[in-house]
Point group: C2
């Protein structure tokens, strides 16, 4: 039987697939409070020309304004290791636990998170990795833009 | 004669004042590339019910998608010391310099930024401090919400 982490990571993967189907970067995220998804989202860089709507940020924004206590009891699920921006946001809201689909494609700020007391679980999920590899093979510059590493047209 | 930093900090202060006039948290920011403002913004937590549109994030979003090289040659001006989220974003986009209006009201992740090689200038600007103090006196819980520290209604 799948555990909670599998079920919610699966929801994040569904978000990533939605993003891919929209022509976007296939990274998805959900925020779970006491066993219930309170926000879901996916990367909107391509779809909305956004510099800040990574999957995790989009899920947080979609969760709306929440009391501080809710964030402190929540788990953030993301299909890919969180970058500096998303990790900083996890720290701001004191989200205590992050479940990461994979970190082979991109290793974010896991060490920073751990050094601040955040529990970091890496699922090594094959589907998360596959989605990113397929995307990068087709769109190498778009992906590089998301990690702040390459010249792209605005 | 005022230097460049004073002129652009002044533009960030004008954004903070716009936010205040909208009933929002008076924190403003501008992003400057080669002497030209490419994005300006202010905190929209109250106005848009946003969990992610701090002043700096809003300025970045308003700048739109930029080539990586533009961020790497830009300076971010903000009226208040940047929190974990905004600092993480500065690191993601490799913005090399941040000019901060004040850090007495709130001390953000200046040490983290410096440890990663970002130049941090604190202007100790009285107007920035005054705007925050006036706001906090009138709206103590709203401000605490922005720093992830207090119970508030969604
Ligand atoms: Ca596996
Ligand atoms: Ca002064
Ligand atoms: Zn991110
Ligand atoms: Zn911030």
């Amino acid at each position: 039987m799948p555990g909670d982490d599998d079920v919610f990571l699966q929801a994040a993967i569904e978000e990533a697939e939605k993003g891919r189907d929209e022509g976007g970067i296939p990274i998805g995220s959900v925020i779970v409070h006491k066993g219930k998804i309170i926000g879901r989202g996916h990367n909107r860089r391509v779809q909305h020309g956004s510099a800040i709507h990574h999957g995790e940020m989009n899920a947080l924004e979609n969760a709306g304004r929440q009391p501080a206590s809710v964030y402190k009891e929540s788990v953030l699920y993301t299909t890919l290791s969180p970058c500096s921006m998303c990790s900083g946001t996890i720290l701001l809201y004191k989200i205590p636990k992050v479940v990461i689909g994979e970190n082979r494609t991109y290793l974010g700020e896991e060490s920073l998170l751990q050094s601040r007391g955040v529990e970091v679980v890496v699922a090594n999920n094959d589907r998360c990795y596959e989605l990113m590899q397929e995307f990068i093979a087709k769109n190498p510059t778009l992906w590089a833009e998301d990690t702040g590493e390459v010249e792209v047209k605005a």
